[in-house]
């Protein structure tokens, strides 16, 4: 029981040196005070590590082109839509502990009640979370919450923008939230051995595939129409996080995770 926690903690701890490397390596030049407009722009963009971030983005684009996207396209082609929905619902249901904890940490009892009720109904009537009957029969829609959002509600600033290969757009606050989400998830506390590890990695792998699948069209569109996809993603990520934090409408569904592209999963399932 102790071993898996430690290995997961150490995985989260891996992020720290990576973060340091990102911050210490190339920095964008801050415009002089004599150019207030450029300075305002620089501050608004909030990307002092831009040269390094862009290099990491290039790495990500290569990984995406040769691994992530092809796998996601294959998944979409081979697995029929109802099965993919089921997978997405199960992943969303498994995120309940994290969402519930953050509903409560943000002092949102009604949303916490929704989350708990959905979990009970979907885990039983919804056959282990495969069918989202809480929404289709009872009209209670899922929502996402994560530690990054809770930290934001508690007044923690986002910090400088970061781009991390595979994980995607982020910042120190959301990255810490992402780590907390992994460490605090009770599903990662139970048992050990090959079966448990298999389930844990299987779930992580499915989350990546499901997320990328839900983003195929969106990212294709960005790559096709943007003159600078790096800055498009940066702007979109920061705007979307701001909307999520303010709980303005249900921007992200339950299967979404805290950082990066994570929110993509089921992002087309919008509030109604």
């Amino acid at each position: 029981m102790r071993q898996p926690i430690r290995s997961r903690l150490s995985r989260a701890a891996l992020a720290a040196p990576l973060l340091a490397a990102v911050l210490l390596a190339g920095c964008a030049t801050r415009p002089p005070a004599s150019d207030p407009e450029a300075l305002a722009d620089y501050q608004q963009t909030n990307d002092p590590a831009e040269p390094t971030n862009r290099r990491l983005y290039a790495v990500h684009q290569a990984i995406d082109q040769y691994a992530l996207r092809p796998v996601a396209v294959g998944y979409r082609a081979v697995v029929p839509q109802p099965v993919r929905s089921g997978v997405r619902n199960v992943l969303g249901n498994l995120r309940t502990p994290v969402i519930l904890a953050n509903d409560m940490l943000q002092g949102e009892p009604r949303r916490a009640g929704d989350t708990l009720g959905r979990f009970v109904i979907n885990s039983t009537l919804g056959v282990a979370g495969i069918f989202d009957v809480a929404e289709s029969w009872f009209g209670v829609r899922g929502h996402a919450e994560d530690y990054g959002q809770t930290l934001a509600r508690w007044g923690v600033g986002e910090g400088p923008y970061l781009f991390i290969p595979v994980i995607g757009p982020s910042n120190p606050r959301d990255l810490v939230g992402f780590g907390l989400g992994i460490v605090s998830d009770p599903l990662s506390w139970f048992g050990q051995g090959a079966v448990v590890d298999g389930l844990v990695y299987g779930r992580a792998g499915m989350t990546v595939v499901d997320t990328r699948e839900s983003l195929i069209d969106t990212i294709d569109d960005v790559n096709r129409t943007s003159l600078d996809s790096y800055s498009t993603l940066r702007s979109a990520y920061r705007q979307r996080r701001a909307a999520e934090i303010s709980n303005a409408g249900e921007v992200a569904p339950a299967a979404a995770t805290s950082t990066g592209f994570g929110v993509g999963t089921g992002m087309d399932q919008q509030r109604r």
């Binding site: 943007s226 919008q270 509030r271 109604r272």
Partner: protein, 212 residues
């Protein structure tokens, strides 16, 4: 003197009361007008997209025509260029607006043109902001989960016009502003470099449309 003060006070109070009553009523009227405008524009777009009697090129042209009428292309374009607008020469400004209109209309009509079988409805939340109205719509397509789009509608010369589209909390004009600004900055503040990139992009879009 005191009387005058009192009269001024009363007058102000009366004015405030009337304004207080009229304010929300006017906001309601604005919201209704903007929502009606989006409703009718949306219906025109849906009709153009779903018109089975025409081929995809013709459908796209009809979509583009509706968009040209409904979107305030110039103010959106100027907003997106932001602080670089003033740094551009008058010729560059002219050319930018021309290229921007073409990029915007081509991109949007290419995207909407593919939405076969699309349906849309006004959503629940219509709200007034400081100087415009946000109209929420729900877009439904076959085999796709419904998603919501917010349209920012402003009064331009007494006419309601679309000035922004917001999906998943992401504003199209803010995102594009960041994109264009980044292109200019990475070319040492040259607006001409952005124009070159835009021309290249339009060429690519045109080639892709012909390839279809």
């Amino acid at each position: 003197m005191h009387d005058l003060d009192r009269r001024a006070l009363l007058g102000t109070a009366l004015f405030l009361t009337v304004a207080g009553l009229a304010g929300p009523a006017m906001a309601q009227a604005d919201i209704g007008r903007a929502a009606n405008f989006i409703q009718s524009t949306g219906q025109e777009l849906v009709a153009a997209v779903n018109d089975q009697t025409r081929d995809i090129a013709a459908r796209r042209q009809r979509v583009a025509a509706v968009l040209r009428r409904a979107v305030d292309v110039e103010s959106v374009g100027r907003f997106i260029l932001g602080r670089w607008w003033r740094q551009a020469s008058p010729q560059e400004q002219q050319e930018y607006l021309k290229l921007f209109e073409e990029t915007l209309i081509r991109n949007l009509s290419a995207r909407f043109g593919e939405y076969q079988g699309v349906r849309f409805a006004l959503g629940r939340t219509q709200q007034r902001t400081e100087d415009d109205v946000l109209v929420n719509t729900v877009i439904e397509r076959p085999n796709t989960a419904p998603f919501s789009l917010d349209w920012r509608v402003a009064e331009i010369n007494g006419q309601p016009k679309i000035v922004d589209v917001i999906a998943e909390g992401t504003s199209l004009r803010l995102t594009q502003r960041s994109e264009y600004s980044s292109v200019i900055q990475r070319n040492n503040g040259s607006v001409a470099a952005l124009l070159t990139a835009m021309r290249g992009q339009i060429q690519q879009l045109a080639q892709r449309e012909q390839g279809r």
